[in-house]
C-alpha cells in the first residue's frame, strides 16, 4: 500500500488478556520495526525484522511480548497476559532495508489495559 498501516488504531483490553497488534508495511520494504511510547516517555525500541534474517528481539521488555512476520510482509506483535504498564502507543515502521531509504511510520495503535 501507499503507507504503513496499523490496526486497530485503538484497543482497550482487560488486564490478563492477550492482544494482537498488526502492521502492514509498505510493499517491498524488507526492514520492519516495532516501537512503543509510554505516557511521558520517549520511544522505546522493541524488535526489528530484516528480510529472512533472525529478528533482533533485544528490545522486548519481557517474555510476554512476541512478534512474527509472515512471508516477509505483515507483522503481528502479541502481548500475552497484559499488564497495566503495557498501556502505550505501539508504532510500526518499515524501510527499504536496514541501510537504505527513509523510515515510514504507521500512526500507531493506542493500547489501554484496564
Amino acid at each position: 500500500g501507499a503507507g504503513v498501516s496499523q490496526s486497530p488504531s485503538n484497543k482497550v483490553t482487560e488486564k490478563g488478556k492477550d492482544v494482537e497488534l498488526r502492521c502492514d508495511p509498505i510493499s517491498g520494504h524488507t526492514a520492519l520495526y516495532w516501537y512503543r511510547q509510554s505516557l511521558g516517555q520517549g520511544l522505546e525500541f522493541l524488535i526489528y525484522f530484516q528480510g529472512n534474517s533472525a529478528p533482533d528481539k533485544s528490545g522486548l521488555p519481557s517474555d510476554r511480548f512476541s512478534a512474527e512476520r509472515t512471508g516477509g510482509s505483515v507483522s503481528t506483535l502479541t502481548i500475552q497476559r497484559t499488564q497495566q504498564e503495557d498501556s502505550a502507543v505501539y508504532l510500526c515502521a518499515s524501510r527499504v532495508d536496514r541501510f537504505r531509504g527513509g523510515y515510514t511510520f504507521g500512526s500507531g495503535t493506542r493500547l489501554t489495559v484496564v
Binding site: 516501537y35 511510547q37 520517549g42 528490545g59 502507543v89 515502521a93 527513509g102 523510515y103 515510514t104 511510520f105
Partner: protein, 112 residues
C-alpha cells in the same frame, strides 16, 4: 490532517561547525512537535519536545529547536557538532488524539 516533511535526507558537517536539520509540518490545529535521534543499532531517543510553551526549546546534548508558527517550521540546531552526533534524526508531530506522524528522517554525518 497532519504531515511532516524533513527537507534533507542527508546532512554532512565538519566537527565543530553548526548543525541545522530542517523540518516543516502541516497541522489543522496547534500541534505538539518532537525531535528524536536514532544511533546505529539503538532505539529512538527523545531529544526535545514543543508543547505550546516557550517557542525556543532546549534539548539534550546541546540541541535546540525553534517553533515558528508563521513558517510552520521546527528546525533542529546545534552550535557545534560533535562526532557522537552522527545519527539519524526524526521530526515528529502528534495530533489531538496523541497519534504520531513521523518525517522520513535525516542522516547526519559528522566529518573529523
Amino acid at each position: 490532517a497532519q504531515s511532516v516533511t524533513q527537507l534533507d535526507s542527508h546532512v554532512s558537517v565538519s566537527e565543530g561547525t553548526p548543525v541545522l536539520l530542517r523540518c516543516n509540518y502541516s497541522s489543522s490545529y496547534s500541534p505538539s512537535l518532537f525531535w528524536y535521534v536514532q544511533h546505529p543499532n539503538k532505539g529512538l531517543q527523545l531529544l526535545l519536545k514543543y508543547t505550546s510553551a516557550a517557542t525556543l526549546v532546549k534539548g539534550i546534548n546541546g540541541f535546540e529547536a525553534e517553533f515558528k508558527k508563521s513558517e510552520t517550521s521546527f528546525h533542529l540546531t546545534k552550535p557545534s557538532a560533535h562526532m557522537s552526533d552522527a545519527a539519524e534524526y526524526f521530526c515528529v508531530v502528534s495530533d489531538q488524539n496523541n497519534k504520531f506522524y513521523f518525517g522520513s528522517g535525516t542522516k547526519l554525518n559528522v566529518k573529523p
